[in-house]
């Protein structure tokens, strides 16, 4: 018999044993990292890894464990946290990054920079600033419905109108947090991630809530639904603005460029407290008046947002990009000299229609 034909299968089998088939890690030995908590002390970083593993006591159930690590650098802290457990940690399913109280106050940029460039972590991790200390976070993980709450946060990431912001949307590479970061507020019956924290030079300077936060998300390009309550003929009415969109246009006025932002959308489904009011709302004259009223209300909120951000010299929404596209040289000169903020260079208005 040909020696090669006899020898070949053994050679192939031998080579296959080097391919990792025999050195693979069984699923039961893997610790799937569900979330990462990163915080700072005066000198060190503290990292908590929320690990999910199959329960040994009950089939089909999962067990949550928290592994802590501390170190001078994030890498050291993570390494120590990984060594706390018996399992081999796996980051492929990790979509949540929580920044603790101290890290959220100062040093969030370095956390974002580390996780944004670390190859093992996913670039589409959702980042949340929190006011939780490591002890408070540990208490949270001990709640019975903690796993369900994490699942709820992950489900939010799959929505088109998600409230989360991903690490790649925030990371600028300068180790300083800039822009809007979602704020996670722990409540009795769950979590609230609707609020946004505005960072400038790695320092939180403004907290946006409710519709202000939604308008900010809309300006960032995320599809949102806006819910409002207003007064009409002595009665409270609620309405929601579905699929709002913002148009940007630079117009020259008195020789100066002005960026016009117009929020457009359709209001469907206005609710009133009484049936009589509800019937009145469906009349055409009422709808025209309501369109004007709603537009004014939303314009006012947009103007307030503008006062808190652009008019303070901040640009979390990328308004400067539009000026740069119009005339980059002009924009560079006038932004560095501050002339861009010495006149109302950005004007906002809303034009919504009740259908």
């Amino acid at each position: 018999m040909n020696k090669t034909k006899v020898f070949a299968p053994f050679l192939v089998f031998w080579i296959l044993t080097f391919c990792g088939c025999s050195s693979g890690v069984a699923l039961s030995q893997r610790g799937i990292v569900k979330a990462v908590f990163a915080d700072k002390t005066i000198t060190n970083y503290v990292v908590g890894l929320v690990i999910v593993q199959g329960s040994e006591k009950e089939a089909g159930k999962e067990e949550i464990s928290l592994q802590w690590g501390e170190g001078e650098t994030l890498a050291q802290a993570i390494q120590q946290a990984e060594q706390q457990g018996q399992s081999v940690v796996f980051y492929g399913q990790n979509q949540l990054l929580f920044a603790g109280k101290q890290a959220s106050q100062k040093g969030l940029g370095k956390v974002l920079d580390y996780f944004g460039t670390e190859q093992a972590s996913r670039p589409n991790m959702a980042v949340y600033a929190t006011e939780q200390t490591p002890e408070e976070f540990e208490e949270w993980t001990e709640q019975e419905d903690f796993f369900q709450q994490l699942n709820g946060l992950e489900k939010d990431l799959e929505k088109s109108h998600k409230q989360a912001r991903m690490i790649y949307e925030l990371n600028t590479g300068e180790q300083k947090a800039e822009g809007l970061v979602p704020f996670l507020e722990k409540k009795e019956n769950g979590t609230d991630t609707s609020q946004l924290v505005l960072y400038d030079d790695d320092t939180p300077i403004l907290l946006l809530k409710e519709n202000q936060a939604q308008l900010a998300r809309l300006l960032l390009g995320t599809p949102v639904v806006l819910e409002y309550v207003t007064q009409y003929q002595g009665n409270s009415i609620g309405y929601s603005l579905q699929t709002p969109r913002i148009t940007h246009e630079i117009q020259l006025e008195n020789g100066k460029p002005i960026l016009h932002l117009t929020l457009q959308g359709s209001v469907r489904g206005i609710t009133a407290a009484t049936a009589q009011m509800q019937a009145q709302l469906s009349r055409w004259e009422s709808r025209k008046e309501l369109s004007r009223k709603f537009s004014q209300q939303i314009s006012s909120e947009l103007q307030q947002l503008l006062q808190q951000t652009w008019q303070q010299g901040l640009d979390p929404f990328g308004f400067g990009w539009w000026f740069g596209v119009w005339n980059n040289q002009w924009y560079q000169q006038n932004s560095s000299s501050g002339a861009l903020w010495q006149y109302p260079s950005v004007v906002v208005e809303a034009d919504v229609e009740v259908v």
């Binding site: 080579i15 080097f18 944004g116 799959e158 991903m166 790649y168 390009g221």
Partner: protein, 346 residues
């Protein structure tokens, strides 16, 4: 002797295109992605124009009987020209092997011993080369379809994340384009394949073949660059493998973590590229080998490729790039010089 079988022109175009586009998919870009998209796009057009200019005239000569005789070692200048070509293809194949291993390790986190992984990939590539050029190029057509599917999937999966404001506005356009050209320009031995194999392609001019290849490559590069910057913005500058980052980001409906699908297609293309370069090396080395070794030319190159690939791990990426450019340019210049001497002799 060069193959007398007629090669399908379309398959050759697709094959060389896959080799060139493979660079965009798997080559690490430490600091390279920091250049804005407009710089890289204009740089790509400029570099492609320079390559077309440099190689266009050379490749016209590669469709003459004189070139066929040169490749068959029948002219006085054949030996040193074939040696230059061999160095160029050897370095190209070794670099391709090294990049395949590095990307495989980066994308999968696999900790297999380096030399073993290199050996395994090389064996696969050499076997693919051994099946013959026609078979390899037909496989390339299938890979091109898979690549197109991969890119369409990446574009669709990342479409919701694209933002116009992520596009960087030119600050210093000339410097940016120049920097892109300096870091991105290189001549690769795949370009020489058009000359080495193109004379078997029948009536179509080599210049036309090269033009189509470069056009496809530049268009692909432009699409990659635009999608990367539209989605990642400034985050792209921190990425060693921006296209791989895009593959990790996107999802379609309930389908997440599709990066493994993309990586498998790209690695197949990397293996294809290495195999095609091994074929090229075998073609140019065959006339120089003793008659007993001619049939096994593809396997003879195994050890040199492996040795050079291991050596390349100690050489910086930029030095490798310029060394490859030098050898390819030298081989092209050698062909032009030899052809001119032959013509003068006639």
């Amino acid at each position: 002797m060069p193959h007398k079988t007629l090669i399908n022109t379309r398959q050759l175009i697709i094959g060389v295109y896959l080799c060139l586009v493979c660079d965009s998919l798997i080559r690490p870009l430490p600091g390279g992605a920091a250049i804005a998209a407009y710089g890289r796009i204009f740089g790509a057009f400029l570099c492609a124009t320079v390559v077309l200019f440099l190689f266009g005239f050379l490749l016209k000569k590669c469709q003459t009987e004189g070139f066929v005789a040169l490749l068959a070692a029948k002219t006085p200048h054949s030996k040193w020209v074939l040696c230059l070509l061999s160095f160029a293809f050897l370095l190209g194949a070794a670099r391709s092997l090294q990049q395949s291993e590095m990307f495989y390790r980066y994308a999968t986190g696999q900790t297999l011993p380096l030399t073993l992984l290199l050996l395994l990939i090389l064996v696969v590539c050499l076997y693919a080369a051994h099946t013959g050029l026609e078979v390899l190029l037909r496989t390339g057509t299938v890979l091109a379809i898979l690549l197109a599917g991969s890119l369409v999937l990446i574009a669709i999966a990342n479409a919701p994340q694209m933002r116009l404001q992520n596009l960087q506005i030119p600050q210093q356009p000339i410097e940016s384009i120049w920097q892109s050209c300096m870091t991105g320009f290189n001549l690769t031995p795949e370009l020489l394949l058009v000359g080495v194999l193109g004379h078997s392609c029948g009536q179509q001019k080599n210049f036309g073949i090269l033009f189509k290849i470069l056009l496809l490559t530049v268009v692909s590069d432009v699409v990659f660059t635009l999608i990367s910057e539209l989605v990642l913005g400034q985050f792209e500058a921190l990425q060693v493998q921006p296209i791989h980052t895009l593959a990790r980001l996107g999802g379609i409906s309930v389908f997440r973590r599709l990066d493994a699908v993309h990586v498998s297609v790209w690695l197949l293309i990397a293996v294809f590229r290495t195999a095609l370069l091994c074929v090229g090396l075998g073609e140019v080395l065959r006339p120089l080998l003793p008659s007993k070794a001619k049939q096994a030319a593809v396997w003879v190159v195994a050890l040199p490729i492996f040795a050079v690939a291991v050596l390349l791990y100690h050489v910086p990426e930029l030095v490798q790039q310029w060394a490859e450019t030098f050898f390819v340019f030298a081989a092209g210049a050698g062909i032009a010089f030899a052809m001119r001497k032959e013509k003068a002799h006639e």
